[in-house]
Symmetry: C2
Subunit: 232 residues, 2 copies
DNA sequence: TTGAGAAAACTGGTTAACCAGATTGGTTAT
DNA sequence: ATAACCAATCTGGTTAACCAGTTTTCTCAA
């Protein structure tokens, strides 16, 4: 399931189906563990293709609200009807994140991953971060574009944080960040040179296992982005 | 696409396909914008079903590395080969988040959403939070289980934070948290009664638009969970 | 009436055929 | 030589048929 990469038409259909499933659960008073009507039945009742039904169910499965068991059926997850209604409402309301949300979340995550990396990094992690840093520096010094190497430096830190959720979330927001960076031309050459020092500072803090300093240096690194984000 | 809800067999196949796609991109020196071989071709070459190929491509599409265009082809996204290799490596390495990662991430997100909610909440947001709080209190006072109402209170705050990414991430980690909560019996009745006061404090801080206080009260609310998480 | 057992119906998952639009290559007219 | 056209091919997306288990229903003996 893609989070929000559906075209508008399919998107609307899916929302309608999810609403319909919610209404059906409420109307039939289905409780946790109860079985939903079959995919075929639902596709008839809602007058959509079975594929659409499957997509919607998979989305709700992704958020832990339903569970499909092969050759048996789809069941309401072990979560109360109240929470289920609340979560479905939230899921339906979810919208494509704006750039500001992405940046805000990225900064939040990166300050934490820097902290955690300083505490938990292994020697291998440190080595990987160093290599990413060197690759970045070399590109910048040669006057080449270093967006990719910049990114990989930050992902190396996320990896070293040893937190699987944050690592995943970093990967999820990365494409959106990159796209918008290029769209709005947030970076420029001056920043790139300044970036070498900032990256080096972050690396040094993680190497010396100083979480507070690592967070501080990461914060400094994001200062311009932070301002850009909050001054428009 | 599900993040990590595939059975092991399919999971391994998908990882192999993603690796193979990466190798193919490297071997053929495909650059951003270049077209990948067709799904049918890949399914022959890798000796897997076309459905498997489609799933793998959709996953890489989800992370912004590929782009499928109907009736035309699948293209390498506008991201350099270096970043692409790095990100694929990370994606392949991603593992099911452990409970500690989930809790750590939840606390990070909730401290921020409380802050942001205090700043940005509308009157409607405040009203919704209040209703969630009242529903929670009533359940606890009646001695009933209030896990769902607890959850909805926190989701109401996430909604009021007006940050779409964080809201999404809260919804993503919620099922894992709930499951593990029940598995490890993190909550007990005493906490529930204490929770009323803590929730009320958080609500009051958000109402009076005091972000610092909101964060503080949320931190206090998570104190036990925090300790549970870091003392094992 | 009840129990077991078998067969029919139904389940989510998978596969292969089909679709409409895009692309390509060749042909022809200018 | 080149531009225009058209048909054959190829594309990702969609649909319908099929599959292997599960669940229900029916049958018939005890």
């Amino acid at each position: 399931m893609k989070l929000e990469i559906l075209n508008n038409e399919n998107h609307d259909i899916q929302k309608k189906i999810i609403s319909a499933i919610r209404d059906l659960i409420n109307h039939k008073n289905l409780e946790p563990g109860d079985k939903l009507p079959s995919e075929r039945t639902l596709s008839e009742k809602f007058e959509v293709s079975r594929g659409n039904i499957r997509e919607a169910i998979q989305k709700l499965e992704f958020y832990g609200l339903l569970e499909s068991i092969p050759q048996s059926g789809t069941f309401v997850a072990n979560i109360g009807i109240t929470a289920l209604n609340g979560m479905i409402e939230d899921i339906l309301r979810l919208e494509e994140p704006d750039f500001k949300s992405l940046v805000e979340t990225r900064i939040l995550l990166e300050l934490k991953t820097a902290q955690l990396a300083a505490i938990r990094r292994t020697e291998e992690d440190l080595q990987a971060i160093k290599e990413a840093l060197d690759a970045y520096s070399e590109k910048v010094i040669n006057g080449e574009d270093a967006v990719q190497e910049d990114l990989l430096f930050h992902l190396a830190i996320a990896k070293a944080s040893r937190n699987s959720s944050m690592n995943t979330f970093m990967l999820i927001i990365t494409p959106g960040i990159i796209t918008n960076f290029e769209k709005y031309h947030v970076c420029d050459k001056n920043q790139a040179f300044l970036g070498i020092q900032e990256h080096t500072d972050i690396y040094a803090a993680i190497r010396s296992q100083d979480p507070k300093l690592a967070k501080e240096k990461m914060k400094a690194h994001f200062k311009i982005l932070y301002q850009y984000c909050y001054n428009q």
